[in-house]
């Protein structure tokens, strides 16, 4: 096992800057997720760690050694590819045995390790099949099996479960997390699915346009997003952004043509340090879970909107609310009857609000 450190790493394809000045450290035995939309540079980053892409600038360390110019086969890494990349001309057993054969291990050891990996992944009965005879989920397991037969320094996983169907994906999330624990391994996992990152990672590195947006635990990136992008990328349904103006005439007030919110001390304490100008344009970030909803005017309700549509999810219900011209989503437990076009009254849970500078998109509460 090992730690991986990226120091001011750049990747350019011609004029395109895929990764810009990236510095991340993946600790020993950590499950680190690189999360971001497609084209954000997360796969390029993983491929640079694997040695499959040349590093334009910067340094990548494995443990203490710089590995910039080390060939992939000398890096002692295992990688699971998005499209599985099984060897089509070898049966499942030989696919799993391949990394061990390369290392010239004894047949007895190969046999024992392959059987063990197959057992962990429950593919023992597939060893005699050809890759083309496997289903997507089975191929994916074989691909993971090929990575875990040996003890590499680092596991690199490039969207390994993004092509599975939803049910299998949910199952595999749990399996992978458990696998990480059982193997006690350093894993770097690339995904565009925030749910995968939230559920599995020890820490998440959120990337966009080749830039690291935030690096932190799932709790940190979800509850304390550093900027609008991070806040918007995590969470389903996504966070609502409502443009407001910050007034400082009497305390701190958020004003919009639909509402006027008097910010409580809890929030002001964080804002006070920044010395923000009066009349500043800000975006109020409210997650769908950050309101209490009422069908009638109740003491303390601060916003009034109209129910646009409701989406029941069994246990919960997502309500699309029209607030002036803005559309927002709120989530609450099912129970009350919400009528379309009926007025809806909202009370903001101030311990959950986010505020962003409209210009820089940086969080004002971080």
């Amino acid at each position: 096992m090992a730690q991986v450190k990226l120091e001011n790493v750049w990747k350019k394809y011609g004029d395109v800057e895929a990764v810009k000045d990236l510095s991340i450290q993946c600790k020993d035995r950590e499950f680190l997720c690189l999360l971001g939309p497609s084209g954000c540079g997360k796969s390029s980053t993983l491929r640079m760690i694997a040695g499959l892409e040349h590093i334009t600038d910067g340094k990548i360390y494995m443990d203490e050694a710089v590995v910039n110019d080390v060939e992939p086969y000398k890096r002692d890494i295992a990688m699971v590819f998005e499209n599985y990349a099984l060897y089509p001309h070898k049966k499942v057993y030989e696919n799993l045995a391949y990394p061990l054969r390369v290392q010239k291990r004894s047949q007895a050891e190969i046999d024992q390790r392959v059987k063990r990996a197959a057992e962990i992944l429950e593919i023992g009965d597939l060893l005699d099949r050809w890759p083309r005879q496997l289903s997507g989920g089975q191929k994916q397991r074989v691909a993971i099996g090929r990575a875990i037969v040996r003890d590499p320094k680092v596991f690199l996983l490039d969207e390994p479960i993004s092509h599975l169907d939803a049910k299998l994906r949910t199952h595999m999330r749990g399996e992978l997390k458990r696998l990480h624990r059982d193997l006690d391994a350093t894993m770097i996992y690339v995904t565009h699915d925030q749910l995968e990152a939230m559920t599995m990672a020890d820490r998440i590195a959120v990337m966009n346009f080749g830039l690291l947006q935030q690096l932190g635990t799932p709790d940190e990136v979800f509850n304390h997003p550093r900027n609008k992008f991070v806040a918007g990328f995590l969470g389903d349904p996504p966070i609502n952004f409502i443009p407001c103006v910050l007034h400082r005439s009497s305390g701190y007030q958020l004003v919009n043509d639909q509402f006027k919110l008097q910010l409580p001390d809890l929030v002001i304490r964080k804002l006070a340090k920044k010395d923000l100008p009066d009349g500043m344009a800000v975006d109020l970030g409210l997650r769908p879970e950050s309101f209490e909803l009422f069908t009638s005017q109740t003491a303390g309700t601060e916003m009034t909107g109209k129910v646009y549509v409701t989406e029941p999810l069994g246990e919960d219900i997502i309500i699309d609310i029209l607030l002036g011209k803005e559309r927002m989503k709120a989530r609450t437990v099912i129970g009350q009857s919400w009528q379309i076009d009926a007025p809806i009254f909202m009370k903001v849970r101030y311990d959950r609000v986010h505020l962003f500078d409209s210009k820089t998109e940086e969080s004002l509460l971080a």
Binding site: F81, A85, P88
Partner: protein
């Protein structure tokens, strides 16, 4: 997770065949009749000369030239009435020296194909995987050597080979064929490498293989159908060639096609041996043709990568 997919590839093939059945069934009887008639005519047109040659090679000259009387249509059947003889084949080997011609042809074609395919595989992999300046121009330059007909280069080649003292040698003939076969095999094999998903090689690379090992253990086996096909086509080109063999091969490296021309002497045309020699020339080509078809159809990469 426990879906049984053992028979999946077979099933897929069958379902494709069934699709084709349904398409044919949709045709009207008239269209089908026309199809059958046209195909029958085409088969007769292409195979009749071959049949006559084949029969002529095992008939005596008298039998071969026997014609039915004018208007006697049933007499057509008489072309099948003969007692088989190997006399023409015997004559080819005993008097005309065809044993040596076949040997020359084999050595020249297999030798050249082996060189062209070995070098072609390396070159094709480089062009397919490597990223270097003016890659497109280099690829085009390689294929451009095949654009002019062989006749255009035969005179300069003759003088080059003369200067090198390689006229009338098998080595010379092999090199001459390789100049043509190499560019062809590079392009054919490159297509097969291009179709291989790069991730499979990257996986092997990460699994601990060096560049060379990845090439040898992953890329080449997966491109094998293309490499074999290219080998066969190179053999066919050389085995079948007349121009290079006649000009470069000269007297001491005669091949079968050149040998055949010698059966038309100043005195007579040796029709029987000529037919036999043609059959000797054709048989390996048919055999290889069948082999290559089997390899070209094979799609080894199917199902290894998510499609």
């Amino acid at each position: 997770m426990t879906v049984d997919v053992t028979a999946a590839p077979k099933k897929r093939k069958r379902s494709k065949a069934m699709e084709q059945d349904t398409i044919i069934k949709k045709r009207t009887p008239l269209a089908q009749a026309i199809t059958v008639v046209v195909l029958t005519l085409w088969i007769v047109w292409t195979l009749a000369p071959l049949l006559i040659t084949a029969l002529g090679s095992i008939k005596t000259t008298r039998e071969a030239f026997a014609t039915p009387t004018y208007g006697d249509w049933r007499g057509v059947a008489s072309i099948f009435k003969f007692s088989p003889t190997m006399v023409h084949f015997e004559r080819l080997f005993s008097q005309q020296g065809f044993g040596a011609y076949i040997w020359h042809g084999l050595v020249a074609s297999v030798g050249s194909a082996a060189i062209a395919v070995t070098m072609g595989t390396l070159g094709a992999y480089g062009l397919s995987r490597g990223k270097f300046k003016r890659e497109g121009d280099i690829s085009f330059w390689i294929i451009s050597t095949r654009m002019a007909p062989a006749v255009v280069v035969i005179v300069p080649l003759y003088y080059i080979f003369k200067g090198l003292g390689m006229l009338s040698t098998l080595t010379g003939l092999i090199i001459a064929y390789t100049t043509f076969n190499l560019s062809f095999s590079i392009w054919l094999i490159k297509g097969f490498f291009d179709d291989l998903p790069v991730e499979i090689e990257e996986a092997a690379f990460v699994d601990g293989d060096s560049h060379w090992a990845v090439f040898r253990k992953i890329a080449v086996p997966l491109a094998a159908p293309g490499i074999v096909a290219s080998f066969v086509l190179c053999v066919l080109f050389s085995w079948n060639d007349f121009l290079f063999a006649a000009v470069i091969g000269g007297h001491s490296a005669k091949t079968v096609p050149v040998g055949i021309t010698e059966l038309r002497t100043t005195v007579e045309v040796l029709w029987g041996p000529l037919n036999s020699a043609t059959i000797i020339l054709i048989i390996p080509m048919i055999a290889l043709g069948i082999l290559i078809r089997k390899y070209l159809i094979q799609g080894l990469t199917m199902g290894a990568v998510r499609e």
